[in-house]
């Protein structure tokens, strides 16, 4: 497989501009004649559907929730970055570009990241015009905060509900186009396969989740904005329904999968309390601005926190990283929390560390802390049943985001012509580690401002034969989906899909989570196929396929996770270096920091499906750094 990245040449500041000029345009009168399928109604899918429809294309948009407004993007809390420099603190497009490339530990494409930083300005303008109620100063201008250790204040936010407000903006734009008849919305509809004809993406097979009906949708191009695969770990901060089915089926139809092992762990989540736990809840990173992280110095110290005197506490981040302290990047904070818990110094159910606000409350007063974090403290109390104004919070890292995804070129097209991937579903801009408040930016950049141009270039320059439902590839995909559904229903074994999912998640968390090593990954690679085999013999899915059957939906998703987990471990095993969220224990500096190997691994790993039971092929896209020169990250 040849990976054509289609990165324009010339000075980086002018690349996107020039590229836009060089792309072919579809005649406005002809746009109506093109049908585009968008799977997903999150920030990426909703913004893309609305913008494509405004241009005049015929759009069909799909989501599995009962309304497009409920896509997982709704849960994002902290904010969205943009290089507006409204605070006059020295921010610029170049600085956002620089921070993102460095934060991604030099595993992202420079040209994409630069374009993202440029477009960040337009995103804020568009969202404000739609009525997104961003936080404001008394003078009426937009306000910003600094986020995730950034040295400038470039994060725009709407209380702790930024994702909700941005998504509602995009959702309203989408429904405006539904009302105008330019978009047909299919809620409670799940894509279960991709239709590829003559090497081009030409449609999808879906299941109506209410009636169980399997349907075909043919089109001239297909866009996947189906989100990340963090739920492969079972417990994550993602919504329960988030899954990898759409991108996994696309992979099996020939789309290369980029850097599947690049997953992000968020350091501040509420710890697990029991086996019944169904998901993990994020506590915004902003808490680290005022909270101090510590554990007891002694192992197995079970005294309640207020009985542990100051000199018997270990503020380990402040001790190890005097200049960044509690504000070190996500991956560093997470690994250190795991390390102290592995030493037996964890608190609560042993997998937790304290995030203590006592000093901040003493210094600023309870009222001031309430103003800053009131809603987060309330949420913590609702879930943990403890009052964080009185007792320190207990936190622990959790899977939060996946940088890997379908490989895409500069136009966001996958290796299957006519198939695009946008938002968290693609691998593109965050390298090996994503900075806070950059996912919302990327999803909206892709959907509002990049895809609407690049898809036109493809349509205008490609000859697309008319296809109909009688084509053998279409029949094939349709029967494949029906067969899988029936198979799942016929097994009637002894274990629920959820129990397989929990077991897979536990295995991946142990062997392919916060830190990874060769023997562990090999063990996982051996165990996963066994688990998969047992699943197909022993899973128990009741009911029928012709009704709302949530257990069946879930079983299909778990089946795909059981396949995908293997690819993730394979990628982690092959990447014999540590970078960003991928920490290989064999590759660390003497004081335990990630050790990159730029000589051998400065590339994107794009895995190509080779057929059932065959090892996937590895393709490499070399990464070239012309502007930001690779250096070891240091937060000491």
């Amino acid at each position: 497989m040849e990976l054509k990245s289609r990165i324009p040449s010339g000075p980086i500041e002018q690349r996107w501009e020039r590229h836009r000029f060089e792309m072919k345009l579809v005649n406005p009168a002809n746009k109506r004649k093109y049908n585009i399928i968008v799977v997903g109604s999150g920030l990426a899918g909703a913004s893309a559907s609305a913008s494509l429809a405004e241009l005049g294309y015929n759009v069909k948009c799909f989501c599995f929730q009962d309304s497009p407004r409920r896509a997982h993007s709704i849960a994002a809390q902290g904010g969205i970055n943009a290089a507006k420099n409204y605070q006059n603190d020295g921010d610029s497009i170049y600085r956002l570009f620089y921070d993102t490339v460095k934060g991604g530990d030099f595993r992202a494409r420079e040209s994409n990241v630069y374009r993202l930083a440029q477009i960040s300005l337009n995103i804020i303008d568009q969202c404000v015009a739609q009525g997104v109620p961003f936080a404001r100063e008394y003078g009426g201008t937009l306000t910003n905060r600094s986020f995730g250790g950034a040295q400038v204040s470039r994060t725009f936010y709407a209380r702790g509900q930024t994702g909700q407000q941005l998504l509602l903006g995009a959702y309203q734009a989408l429904l405006r186009q539904v009302g105008a008849g330019n978009v047909k919305m299919f809620s409670r509809t799940e894509m279960l396969d991709l239709i590829v004809i003559d090497g081009k993406a030409r449609g999808i097979v879906t299941r109506n989740l209410i009636t169980g009906k399997i349907d075909l949708h043919l089109a001239d191009a297909v866009v996947l904005g189906t989100g990340g695969y963090g739920n492969v770990f079972y417990l994550s901060t993602n919504a329960k329904g988030s899954n990898c089915t759409a991108i996994w089926r696309a992979y099996k139809r020939g789309a290369a999968f980029g850097n599947p092992c690049f997953t992000q762990i968020h350091p501040t989540c509420i710890p697990v309390t029991g086996d019944y736990q169904s998901k993990l809840t994020l506590m915004s990173e902003s808490l680290r601005n005022d909270g101090r992280i510590w554990v007891p110095k002694k192992r197995g110290d079970t005294r309640p926190p207020h009985q542990i005197p100051e000199e018997e506490r270990d503020y380990y981040l402040e001790r190890k990283y005097p200049s960044f302290g509690n504000l070190v990047p996500r991956d560093v904070a997470s690994r250190n929390a795991k390390a102290v818990c592995d030493e037996g110094r964890g608190v609560g159910s042993e997998l937790g560390v304290y995030l203590d606000f006592a000093d901040a409350i003493r210094r600023w007063g309870k009222q001031s802390i309430r103003e800053r974090y009131g809603n987060l403290f309330d949420m913590y109390e609702r879930i943990a049943g403890e009052n964080p104004y009185e007792v320190p919070m207990r936190i622990y890292p959790a899977i939060h985001y996946t940088m890997g995804g379908l490989w895409v070129d500069y136009n966001l097209m996958t290796t299957i012509p006519g198939l695009y991937a946008i938002g968290e579903a693609n691998f593109s801009d965050h390298g090996a580690n994503r900075l806070g408040a950059s996912a919302l930016m990327q999803g909206l950049a892709d959907g509002y401002f990049i895809l609407p141009y690049t898809i036109g270039d493809y349509l205008a320059s490609t000859k697309l034969e008319t296809v109909d439902a009688s084509h053998s590839a279409v029949r094939d995909a349709e029967t494949g989906v029906a067969r899988q559904t029936n198979r799942l229903l016929e097994i009637r074994g002894k274990r629920t899909a959820a129990s397989f999912h929990r077991e897979l998640g536990r295995l991946l968390w142990d062997e392919c989570g916060m830190s990874r090593n060769k023997p562990g990954l090999k063990k996982a690679l051996q165990r996963i196929p066994e688990l998969r085999e047992e699943f197909w013999k022993n899973v128990n899915v009741l009911g029928s396929g012709e009704e709302l059957n949530q257990a069946l939906e879930n079983a299909g998703r778990v089946a795909d996770f059981l396949e995908f987990g293997g690819l993730m471990c394979l990628d982690a095993l092959h990447r014999n270096e540590s970078c960003g969220g991928h920490f290989r224990e064999e590759h660390q500096t003497p004081d335990g920091e990630a050790l990159r190997d730029d000589t051998h691994f400065s590339y994107v790993a794009a895995w190509e499906y080779a057929g059932p039971g065959k090892a996937p092929a590895l393709n490499k896209e070399p990464l070239i750094f012309e502007y930001v020169h690779p250096a070891q990250r240091s937060y000491k």
Binding site: A50, Q65, D66, S67, R69, R70, I74, A75, K84, Y86, N122, D125, Q126, V128, A129, Q130, G131, P133, F134, A135, R136, E137, Y138, G139, G140, L142, A158, Q161, Q164, Y171, Q172, A173, L175, R176, V178, G179, M185, I210, A239, K240, G241, G274, Y276, Q277, S278, T281, L282, M379, R382, I383, Y448, F449, T496, A498, L542, G543, E547, L548, Q550, A551
Partner: protein, 256 residues
């Protein structure tokens, strides 16, 4: 702890539903309400019985997917909390709970505790937006917005569209939901050009969806997980009245 649960089971919209009794004795006080149901469902599956269907996704109180009545109260006893965020420590050993789906003509039952809330999407489709195609926006700071207005708009915009307001209302009215959107957009300068047309369009759509009329009872405010205030209904009514006069022609045309 142990619970006695009476849960509404209904196979599909065409079947008649009924309450079914379940004794649940694996309840842990740290579980969320939905985790308690997950555990029950795993047991049902093990026994070969159809698990209970309920909508959920984020389990963080923000997507608006979850929601049913617990002992006649939408989202259960804790104020300002969706059922996914409600924890079992608020219940006692031996409690008897009745779980029922949202009841409203505009929200037909799909299965068990799942209802069809697509009427809400159609209300927004009828005009719950600001018409600004991508690329048309001026600089974000070009139009200052008084902080107070931005804050009040945010209070209204925080609606998660769960439908608890409709379920709690004896008239099954959608006034809190609709008022929240009208208030959010109507308080912002960007929302002014379409302000009066918007309220006319939305109110007509609400009627077409067979929601009831608001008679200012206030049950909606009491159960709203985002604590949206009745004030949004007053703002909607005021805008509607004004629109009915200044745009009489449009209003009449819309009524038809």
């Amino acid at each position: 702890m142990k619970l006695t649960l009476h849960i509404w089971r209904q196979k599909n919209p065409n079947h008649v539903g009924r309450m079914v009794l379940y004794e649940h004795n694996k309840v842990n006080r740290h579980m969320s309400f939905l985790e308690m149901l997950d555990v029950l469902n795993e047991e049902l599956i093990a026994k070969g019985e159809d698990p209970i269907a309920f909508d959920h996704d984020c389990r963080e109180g923000i997507c608006g997917s979850c929601g049913f009545m617990i002992n006649g109260v939408a989202h259960g006893p804790q104020r300002g909390t969706t059922v996914c965020q409600l924890h079992m420590r608020h219940f006692k050993d031996g409690d008897v709970l009745y779980l029922e789906p949202w009841r409203a003509r505009a929200f037909p039952v799909v299965k068990d505790l799942v209802v069809d809330r697509s009427a809400f999407d159609r209300i927004i489709t009828s005009g719950g937006f600001i018409s600004v195609p991508t690329g048309n926006a001026p600089d974000g700071n070009a139009i200052p917005v008084p902080k107070r207005n931005a804050d009040l708009a945010m209070d209204a915009a925080t609606c998660i569209g769960c439908g608890a307001c409709v379920a709690a209302c004896p008239n099954a009215a959608a006034a809190l939901f609709t008022g929240a959107k009208i208030t959010h957009l109507g308080l912002l300068p960007q929302g002014q050009p379409e302000r009066y047309q918007r309220v006319l369009n939305l109110v007509v759509q609400v009627k077409q969806e067979l929601f009831g009329s608001c008679t200012n009872i206030g049950e909606c405010e009491a159960v709203c997980p985002k604590e949206i205030k009745l004030e949004v209904i007053a703002r909607m009514n005021r805008d509607y009245l004004r629109a009915s006069w200044t745009r009489r022609g449009d209003a009449l045309r819309n009524e038809e």
